[in-house]
């Protein structure tokens, strides 16, 4: 099973097959068929601890458990087996939410800097050096 370490690898892996909604493929006929997950545990395709995220042709399903996303190929006509193609941590697959957090941090940082610059503009004193009365301000 391939382990995906970066967001770009994840995007490339997702592009390998055309993704379809999870509802396209029903796993109800597979009963307790298990697959190797990235979290080092076995999960059943119909288990309560996994969620079906997407489907791919011919019979591939992307599952999500508590900590990992795993793409599984279900093989066989009379007797099915699961082959895990790749896996990645949830944080990599859900990179979007992270970048949103980053953006929020950036916003507050930008506001801080804006305030500093605005303070300069507000406290700016225009000095007329030809006017002796403004000598104190200049100093």
């Amino acid at each position: 099973m391939r382990t995906i370490e970066t967001k770009y690898e994840f995007l490339a892996a997702m592009g390998e097959d055309t993704a379809m909604p999870a509802s396209v493929m029903s796993t109800s006929g597979y009963d307790n068929l298990g697959f190797d997950c990235g979290c080092a545990e076995m999960h059943a395709v119909n288990g309560y601890d996994v969620e079906q995220i997407a489907s791919f042709r011919p019979v591939k399903i992307l599952f999500k458990c508590k900590s990992h996303y795993t793409k599984v190929r279900i093989k066989g006509i009379f007797r099915q087996t699961c082959i895990s193609e790749w896996t990645c941590k949830n944080s990599i697959a859900e990179g979007k939410t992270k970048s949103k957090k980053k953006l929020k941090m950036q916003k507050s940082e930008i506001q801080k800097r804006y305030k500093k610059v605005a303070k300069f503009f507000n406290n700016y004193k225009i000095i007329d050096y030809t006017n002796i009365g403004q000598k104190k301000i200049a100093q």
Binding site: F120, F121, Y124, I126
Partner: protein, 79 residues
């Protein structure tokens, strides 16, 4: 004058690099966010322009001159 380099130019350059927004737009943004008034911005910019002209005559520190060029740059990044 120190503040022009250490506060205004430094902070605007960092925000500009992060957001890809020109300096002038950032300065106008301060009016939008009601941090300064339009009149104050115009006044300060006019005074900084005078300072820049003075700097050219008196050969001010290049750091200050560069900061002034950046702050007074009228390019808004629209072709």
């Amino acid at each position: 004058m120190e503040n022009i380099v250490n506060v205004v130019d430094k902070n605007l350059s960092e925000v500009s690099a992060k957001t890809g927004t020109p300096y002038l737009m950032l300065q106008v943004g301060m009016i939008t966010f009601k941090l300064i008034t339009k009149d104050q911005l115009i006044k300060v910019r006019e005074d900084l322009k005078k300072l820049y002209e003075l700097g050219k005559l008196l050969d001010f520190n290049p750091k200050l001159m560069n900061a002034l060029i950046n702050i007074l740059d009228d390019d808004i990044g629209v072709v």
